[in-house]
């Protein structure tokens, strides 16, 4: 079973860009501000400084949020054309709205990564921050025994999986980010990557894919759809 995905952008009037992403029970919103003035300590003469702040759904920031911040930063930083805005700060704030599970176990955290990344990418696109490419992320589980590959698994499926993989691909299909956990062979990993690449593709797949009111939207398709709606709206005056 695949969980349903939903996304939106531009809902925070004070931020330069905002994006939300819902995958199954996990729900995230992200905002982007910048390029703006940077703290002297973080100033880089040639490049923009990128900062990711993760705020938990409940409670205060712990090492878990610091960990998510570091992982998100490693995925998003290479995407941004940082030399276009030297001596500035691009700040990405990720707010967890709802998590898949109640407790702070590893699978809940793992299920946060891909939606958080997608929400942040949508916010970056909305803020028109110069990017090298579009990144789309997904979670793939490799099931125990049967060896089946499940894309965007729920918490129950994660329990029965041999390994879980969070993967992100650029619009040209390059593997930009990996976080795999479990027990697996390299051959399994290759299969998982192929499955993930299919879902994350931002390439336009003809018109039928865009028009159908299908319940499930693959991540890449969804990002394309949301962004083309925005451009259409912005250019509406011309009609």
């Amino acid at each position: 079973m695949v969980s349903s995905n939903a996304a939106s952008i531009g809902f925070l009037p004070r931020a330069d860009g905002s994006g939300s992403f819902v995958s199954g029970r996990t729900s995230i919103i992200a905002s982007v501000t910048g390029p703006m003035e940077v703290r002297i300590r973080d100033e880089h003469p040639q490049k923009a400084h990128v900062e990711v702040i993760v705020r938990p759904a409940i409670g205060v920031t712990s090492t878990r949020e610091k960990y998510l911040e570091a992982r998100l930063l490693s995925a998003l930083k290479p995407l941004i054309l940082r030399s276009n805005h030297p001596r500035t700060l691009i700040q990405i704030v990720v707010q967890v709205v709802q998590t898949a599970g109640t407790d702070e176990n590893a699978s809940t955290t793992l299920l946060l990564l891909a939606p958080a990344m997608n929400a942040a990418v949508l916010a970056l696109l909305d803020a028109a921050v110069p990017l090298k490419s579009v990144l789309a992320a997904t979670t793939v589980a490799f099931m125990k025994g049967s060896g089946g590959v499940v894309v965007e698994p729920g918490l129950d499926e994660l329990k029965n999986s041999a390994s879980t993989h969070v993967l992100a691909f650029t619009s040209t299909g390059q593997l930009g980010f990996v976080e795999s956990d479990g027990e697996f062979e390299y051959e399994d990993f290759e299969r998982v990557v192929e499955a993930g690449r299919g879902v994350c593709s931002v390439e336009q797949k003809g018109h039928h894919a865009m028009d159908t009111e299908a319940k499930y939207h693959a991540v890449g398709e969804l990002i394309r759809k949301i962004m083309s709606q925005k451009v259409e709206m912005d250019m509406r005056w011309r009609a």
Binding site: E69, A70, A75, P78, A162, G182, F184
Partner: protein, 332 residues
């Protein structure tokens, strides 16, 4: 009139070049034949580890591990978590459950798997950077780097599928009833930091856990408390071992965020030192479990390393597993 002194030629020692333009300094080294890193290692060479165990007399288990100029001390201390004020599993604490999820959580507890380790916080990991361990060290509260590394180490111990430490070895049982738990405090102190602290810290944790001896603890029904037998010491039951290998990835064509040029080559640097970590934005970490299966892959920070690169990393990580395994086995 004196003629003006001739302008000095623009040349400076390698150390200055390294500081002025770290990226080109590294790339010039890698473009040489054969490619050599500033440290003299070849790109695929790891630093040789040295492992000593039981160096701390007051810890239940400890290890000192050193690779190159990165050195860490790991101490394991166990304390008893008594369930006196609530017998059994659920009493004595309040759990708030969302609808439909009570079953899942209960199952977790029943399984006695890592759910138990996690929900009762039986393993507490911490990494601290010692004062003055590196050039970038700032006194003050734990840096983001220390917190992130702590979280990564903790995640490795409580991997989602199979746990390194089995909860059964931490239970203190009396008449088939869990009376108390051992809580393990795993503290890693980095005394010298020259890059790749994760691999070294992880190996030190493994070595320290293997060297850990806990006194036999038993429930004394008369005094209704947990007593320890100082004479009898027991080791921990450890699950399959795993070791990590970290890599930095850099392209010989790209300088200072430039576009990739033709003929540029992607170079994977095994076990990067601090200077190399500063230059390589892209990092890969592979954790190999006993038997050669992969326990964890982390990759981020760039788009240079594709599937072939990852395959290469996995191969190197497998051979690195052997090195670590031998070093730890010899030491314990």
């Amino acid at each position: 009139m004196e003629s003006p002194a001739p302008a000095p030629a623009l040349s400076f020692p390698p150390q200055t070049f390294q500081k002025l333009s770290p990226s080109s300094y590294l790339l010039r080294h890698l473009q040489a034949t054969p490619p050599t890193r500033p440290s003299g290692r070849s790109p695929s060479a790891f630093r040789e580890p040295t492992v000593h165990t039981n160096s701390l007399s007051h810890a239940h288990g400890s290890a000192v591990v050193r690779t190159g100029d990165t050195a860490v001390v790991c101490g394991v201390r166990a304390e008893i978590l008594s369930l006196k004020y609530g017998d059994g599993k659920s009493q004595g604490r309040v759990t708030v459950l969302r609808s439909n999820e009570d079953e899942e959580l209960m199952n977790d507890e029943e399984d006695g798997g890592e759910g138990e380790l996690r929900s009762r916080n039986l393993i507490v990991t911490n990494l601290e950077l010692g004062t003055g361990c590196s050039r970038d060290y700032h006194p003050g509260p734990p840096s983001d780097f220390a917190q992130t590394t702590t979280s990564r180490l903790h995640r490795l111990i409580l991997s989602s599928t199979s746990s390194l430490i089995s909860p059964s070895s931490l239970r203190i049982i009396h008449d088939d009833e869990i009376k108390a738990y051992w809580v393990l405090y795993i503290d890693v102190l980095c005394i010298s930091l020259d890059g790749n602290v994760l691999d070294t810290a992880w190996a030190s944790i493994i070595a320290a856990l293997r060297s850990t001896r806990l006194p036999r603890a038993f429930w004394d029904a008369d005094s209704e408390s947990v007593l320890c037998d100082p004479e009898m010491k027991l080791g921990l039951q450890l699950g399959p071992l795993c070791f990590t290998a970290s890599f930095g990835v850099v392209s010989t064509g790209a300088e200072e965020d430039g576009e990739e040029q033709d003929g540029s080559k992607v170079v994977i640097l095994s076990d990067p030192d601090e200077f190399e970590e500063g230059v390589c934005e892209e990092a890969v970490m592979i954790c190999i479990r006993e038997g050669g299966t992969i326990a964890r892959i982390e990759k981020g920070g760039g788009l240079l390393c594709g599937m072939e690169g990852l395959g290469e990393c996995v191969r190197m990580a497998r051979s690195r597993y052997e090195t670590w395994e031998k070093a730890v086995r010899d030491a314990v």
